[in-house]
């Protein structure tokens, strides 16, 4: 479900803005680290969970406004270099601020321990994350499908010139989309922190997975991103149970296998 969340955010950014966002993983990591600091300062997990992703969204806003905006006319190579540079900067700043050693972060007291599901014993916090991520995915989907602004956004994925000809400020739309994508990455990071702990490398690992999700689901295809996220998550969990070392490699193997059969991705049309 977390993968779906990451893929959804990245799909929004790449789909609408048409840029390869290599900073998406770094935004994810910043979300996780901000959560730890916010919880430390505010002393409350729930407040932290609200504040940290908003911080990432704000960062996204700033990045779009200060840099990405100038690069829409430039080629993918320069956009890539820019977001890749940003990823390096954010990653190193994380090390400078929070240190190179991994941090473990406990879930809030309410969500510690596990629940007996009858057939298996499952950690409470993981259940919470699943529900949260599911709700967020649904909320994003509802926003895009049922609200006026969401419809404009989907129109932006289909045809940018047309949307701007209709008198809609496409640049504002881009900014909002980038911030929303960043928010989703941030909250995915914040939710992950208590499960896997934090390390400076977490962003890069997630970036690869997010790309796989988008490549499988199709650019700007939001349902595709959700389905691909679930597929990847399940495949990884199954393999991890039998052969832990290969659990990361299997994500990419699944992608390669799918692309062999369907080069356009699971739901891709382009």
């Amino acid at each position: 479900m977390l993968y779906a969340l990451m893929g959804l955010g990245l799909s929004l950014i790449t789909g609408i803005l048409n840029i390869p966002n290599f900073a998406h993983g770094a935004l994810f990591a910043v979300g996780a680290y901000l959560l730890v600091s916010a919880v430390g300062i505010l002393g409350n997990f729930w407040l932290g969970l609200i504040v940290a992703p908003l911080g990432v969204a704000l960062l996204g806003l700033l990045i779009e406004w200060a840099g990405v905006r100038r690069l829409y006319a430039a080629g993918h190579d320069y956009q890539l270099l820019f977001t890749f540079g940003l990823a390096l900067i954010l990653n190193e700043l994380i090390i400078v601020i929070w240190g190179p050693v991994g941090i473990s972060h406990l879930p809030p007291a309410l969500l510690r321990g596990g629940v007996d599901l009858g057939f298996t014993f499952y950690p409470k916090y993981r259940l919470f994350v699943m529900v949260m991520a599911g709700l967020l995915v649904v909320a994003t989907w509802l926003f895009l499908e049922k609200t006026r602004y969401g419809a404009i956004m989907r129109a932006g994925i289909e045809n940018k010139e047309m949307v701007s000809l209709l008198g809609i400020d496409i640049h504002k739309l881009f900014t909002v989309a980038f911030a929303l994508g960043a928010y989703l990455a941030g909250i995915a990071g914040a939710l992950t922190a208590p499960i896997r702990g934090l390390s400076p490398g977490m962003g890069v690992d997630m970036l690869g997975i997010a790309f796989v999700v988008v490549a499988l689901g199709g650019l700007g295809n939001l349902l595709g991103a959700i389905a691909a996220g679930l597929l990847i998550g399940v495949a990884q969990a199954v393999v991890a149970a039998y052969w832990t070392e290969a659990s990361t490699a299997v994500i990419f193997a699944v992608m390669a296998a799918v692309l062999l059969v369907r080069p356009q991705g699971l739901f891709g049309i382009r």
Binding site: T14, I89, G208, V212, F252, A256, L259, L260
Partner: protein
């Protein structure tokens, strides 16, 4: 001609200015960049996974050098072969897509190879890298002597440059440039575009493989970073700052990049931060690279003289 004199001069002067190891690394990285530029500059394919082929070749050839004591030329041949073969595998999956998908796929498959190298510790040494790669004697030439190895790398670099020049000036090179300019039209004229893209990808992989083996022998170790995505990003960056529109762009880029990173990395452990800042600055203010800035400077100067 002027370019040739410049290259000859820099080959001679470089080892006097910097340590031989760095001078050698510059030429190795230039070979790596030449390969990428065939894709980026001549075919218009932005590959963000070139370290896949660089690293794979370095690991395989390094392993054989270390455990089976193979000949240097055999190691180079194997490196080129492994680079081309891995590029064939990756390219087959990627060339059918273009634009953003292509970038993301090359990156994702780069991550696949990275995680295999990371987990397969018995062979690759995982995070510690694969140390103990020898530089065997070839025809009485002792490559333990840094300058001798430098000369060897330079000869291979010149051969690569000559070969690349032949490739881009051949009919094949022209077809690739046609694909860059207008893919639909190239297809309409009758060229099977995916096949030519794949061919370019494999050729670039072969150059990357050669660079990978030379790199492994230079440092005696294959670090995990050699197959990591930052390495892929670095070669894109070096090619872009040099100017991807020119055959010689990657060479200049490699100079600037290796020299800067080597001098800064010894000063500060967090130097990738500066690297990131450099990326951002180049993108926002210096698009077009050194070669273009240089030509812009010359046209500006000559317009001043005439006007």
């Amino acid at each position: 001609m002027r370019t040739l004199i410049l290259i000859a001069l820099s080959i001679l002067l470089l080892p006097l200015v910097v340590r031989p190891a760095i001078a050698t690394e510059i030429w190795i990285f230039a070979i790596f960049g030449l390969g990428l530029n065939l894709l980026l500059g001549y075919t218009g394919m932005l590959s963000f996974g070139q370290s896949t082929f660089f690293g794979s070749a370095a690991y395989v050839a390094g392993w054989l050098l270390k455990h089976y004591g193979i000949n240097v030329l055999a190691a180079l041949g194997i490196g080129v072969g492994v680079g081309a073969l891995s590029a064939l595998l990756v390219g087959y999956l990627c060339v059918q897509r273009s634009g953003l998908y292509f970038i993301m796929l090359t990156f994702a498959l780069n991550q696949l190879f990275y995680f295999i190298a990371y987990q397969w510790t018995t062979v690759t040494g995982g995070e510690d890298g694969m140390p103990g790669i020898p530089r065997p004697v070839l025809l009485g030439l002792d490559f333990q002597d840094p300058l001798m190895y430098y000369a060897f790398v330079v000869v291979l670099f010149l051969a690569s440059l000559w070969l690349m020049k032949r490739i881009v000036e051949s009919p094949l090179g022209k077809i690739l440039q046609a694909i860059r300019e207008n893919e639909v039209r190239a297809e309409a004229v009758g060229y099977h575009v995916p096949r030519f893209k794949l061919l370019a990808f494999v050729l670039a992989g072969a150059f990357s493989g050669l660079a990978g083996v030379l790199y492994a022998m230079l440092f005696g170790i294959v670090p995990l970073e050699a197959i990591g995505f930052v390495f892929s990003g670095n070669v894109v960056f070096a090619t872009l700052i040099g100017g991807s529109g020119s055959l010689y762009g990657p060479i200049i880029g490699s100079f600037v990049f290796i020299w800067l990173s080597e001098s800064v990395s010894t000063m500060w452990a967090r130097w990738p931060l500066l690297l990131g800042v450099a990326f951002v600055i180049v993108v926002l203010f210096l698009r077009g690279g050194v070669v273009e800035a240089w030509t812009r400077f010359w046209t500006w100067r000559s317009s001043k003289q005439t006007g």
